[in-house]
Symmetry: C2
């Protein structure tokens, strides 16, 4: 059991996939640039590189481009195959099936999931 | 920033809404019975009562019945308006708009989201 405070430590936000690239030599990985609502001093979006191990489930990884999904946005960066990942997509899989979590309405990037 | 271990302490599972009731005197609340994969010794499903503050966003709360959504399943129980809630739906809202998180594929109840 956890407390509500434990839960809210985990920051989950709506992000939009801007681009998807395969990672050479890593059959399961996708390297995505994702807008999770970060902006620079001038207010311009600053996308993050986020690696996701979902390639094997997808017929067409490019179909993710433009879509919005929930991402954990305050995980310490992790280096995978020499690439830094600054977040994690929230999804569920069972056997060969991947369930991405699709917002039922269009929400702005950076909207908190709670 | 949090660690991956902090994240996995939060148990998020796919649950299916079995019934939805309004809560008298509480305009924002819905009382749902949700199958998140719990079973008794005989293997029969044991639904949980979960309260969600999403009523004001929905034209027809009964439209939730049968749908699957991600739920935080290891939160300490909370009593709201005298009713115990044993979990929390994960969703995002912006102004008047609620985004429920709809799995893109049919996954069994109890599937872990991570």
């Amino acid at each position: 059991m956890i407390s509500y405070d434990d839960f809210v430590k985990v920051e989950i936000k709506i992000g939009q996939v801007l681009s998807v690239d395969l990672v050479e030599g890593a059959d399961k990985l996708l390297r995505c640039m994702v807008d999770v609502g970060d902006v620079d001093e001038a207010g311009n979006p600053v996308p993050r590189q986020i690696l996701s191990g979902i390639r094997e489930y997808l017929d067409d990884p490019q179909s993710l481009v433009g879509k919005k999904f929930p991402y954990v946005t305050n995980l310490a960066p992790r280096v995978i195959r020499g690439l830094e990942s600054n977040g994690m997509i929230l999804a569920a899989s069972h056997e060969e099936t991947l369930g991405l979590l699709v917002p039922s309405a269009d929400l702005p990037v950076g909207t908190r999931v709670k």
